[in-house]
């Protein structure tokens, strides 16, 4: 196939190009860098989807959220609805890359790149988000653990595009947080990360979701950590037990950024901070966005 570039203004135009063999690019922040690093060459035929206006809309559905795949991180974190009710996602979008990454990188690109270190993945997984995949012939909705198949791999077909992420309304009394360990405050990839979504009712934890980032082939929830919280009072002992359980769910790799041993040791620290921040927010406490900055030295 000869090298080509088209810019799609509508989904139909995008599917026409994809049907002819083109591969999509949105903000390019992963695709172009990945090609330079030798992960995968740039596709010979490229269709830019970043100007499809219908996918650039963040809808507050009156409780839940519908986030178009092309909504940028900058727009996610600017959303009052995200900041108030889906705070863990705001924590994550606030620290993706640098201000340039956030201005161009999209939530859809982050999710479909399927990095086990992606910042938005843990919050979305814990918040119960679903991914809407559309093709020229139809549409299907997957949970994120059905979507992510491994590092850099999804179960989406080549003819499918992610069109939206839908996030259900959290229960009253819910707080959430995402915390990552980082060596640099911007242009950083999570060394390890943790997300927590905790619901308090009558002084005890009625629901808890805990996930770990950059600690397993895909971002995953750790049921043992969640069980350690539910029914408890959300105090230090329960938080510590849950954090230990989260770390026991880790199966990290060693790479240039950290050894597996260091990642495992830090998993407990980062999980403890994320769970504590989520509980504080659930109780009306003021933990600034991003929680990572707020918890330096905690």
């Amino acid at each position: 196939m000869s090298r080509s570039f088209t810019s799609a203004g509508t989904l139909d135009e995008a599917f026409a190009a994809i049907g002819a063999g083109a591969r999509p690019v949105a903000g390019g922040t992963d695709l172009v860098v990945g090609a330079r690093q030798g992960k995968a060459p740039l596709p010979e035929a490229i269709v830019a989807i970043d100007r499809i206006e219908a996918l650039r809309v963040l809808d507050d559905t009156g409780g839940g959220l519908r986030i178009g795949a092309l909504v940028t991180h900058e727009d996610v974190v600017a959303s009052a609805a995200v900041r108030s009710r889906f705070t863990a996602l705001a924590d994550a979008s606030a620290i993706v890359g640098s201000h340039a990454t956030r201005a161009n990188g999209t939530i859809g690109g982050n999710v479909m790149n399927a990095s086990p270190a992606m910042d938005t993945g843990g919050p979305l997984l814990c918040l119960g988000a679903t991914a809407t995949l559309r093709s020229a012939s139809g549409e299907r909705v997957l949970s994120l653990d059905e979507l992510w198949a491994g590092p850099g791999a999804t179960t989406a077909d080549a003819g499918e595009l992610l069109t939206a992420i839908e996030v259900p309304a959290p229960a009253p009394g819910t707080g959430s947080a995402y915390v990552r360990l980082e060596y640099r405050r911007q242009m950083e990839i999570a060394v390890v990360g943790a997300s927590a979504v905790v619901t308090l009712a009558d002084g005890s934890v009625s629901d808890a979701r805990v996930s770990i980032t950059a600690l397993s082939p895909t971002i995953r929830r750790v049921a043992e950590a969640e069980r350690a919280l539910v029914g408890g009072d959300g105090g230090d002992a329960g938080v510590a037990a849950a954090a230990r359980a989260a770390a026991e769910g880790a199966a990290p790799i060693s790479d240039v950024r950290a050894s597996a041993d260091y990642r495992t040791a830090m998993a407990e620290v980062v999980a403890r901070r994320a769970i504590a921040a989520a509980i504080a927010r659930a109780g009306g406490g003021d933990v600034p966005i991003p929680a990572s900055d707020a918890l330096y030295g905690a």
Binding site: V32, G97, S98, A100, N104, R184, M187
Partner: protein, 174 residues
């Protein structure tokens, strides 16, 4: 396999031929000839290639040139207009925010993006906004101070001393 396309850089339309894999940085430097923006890491880490796209920052080394068609591209050459320097650039000179100069175009563009959105940033906000721009000379102190001084006094796009006067002042100071 190049495609005819027009890039709009600093308000001027440049009809050029673009390979679909060409980065915005390479198209602007090599096809258009505006070499202010630098290639440091070619990996979105160092920020030397920073440009504005419709007013928002972009690592132009990692952005396809074809995706910039129809957008307003701003490079360091377009920050002040003409041959002068703007208030922000003058403060970089004044505060010692420039040593070897390689990171300076990216720093200026990132700082401009910050000040347009947040005209009165705190020092921490300045450091965060510039954290995607690496400098190996200055230790950042002069750079951060230059942005803070600009925020305290002037808008970055305000008129400025002509470039020869600024050079003169630097030589005298040195």
């Amino acid at each position: 396999m190049k495609t005819a396309a027009t890039l709009t850089v600093n308000g001027t339309d440049y009809p050029i031929e673009i390979d679909p894999h060409r980065s915005l940085l390479k198209a602007v430097r090599e096809e258009i000839g505006l070499t202010g923006s630098k290639e440091g890491c070619d990996d979105s880490e160092c920020g030397a290639c920073m440009m504005l796209l419709d007013g928002r920052p972009v690592n132009s080394c990692s952005y396809l040139a074809m995706q910039a068609v129809g957008k307003q591209i701003t490079t360091v050459e377009g920050l002040a207009g003409g041959l002068g320097v703007g208030a922000l650039q003058a403060e970089f000179l004044q505060q010692g925010g420039v040593q070897c100069g390689f990171c300076t175009p990216g720093m200026l563009v990132s700082a401009t993006a910050l000040l347009r959105r947040n005209p009165r940033p705190t020092e921490d906000e300045v450091r965060l906004a510039l954290a995607g721009n690496l400098c190996r000379c200055t230790g950042y102190g002069g750079i951060v101070k230059a942005v803070m001084e600009t925020a305290a006094g002037h808008e970055p796009e305000l008129a400025s001393p002509p470039v020869h006067e600024a050079r003169h002042a630097t030589h005298r100071a040195g």
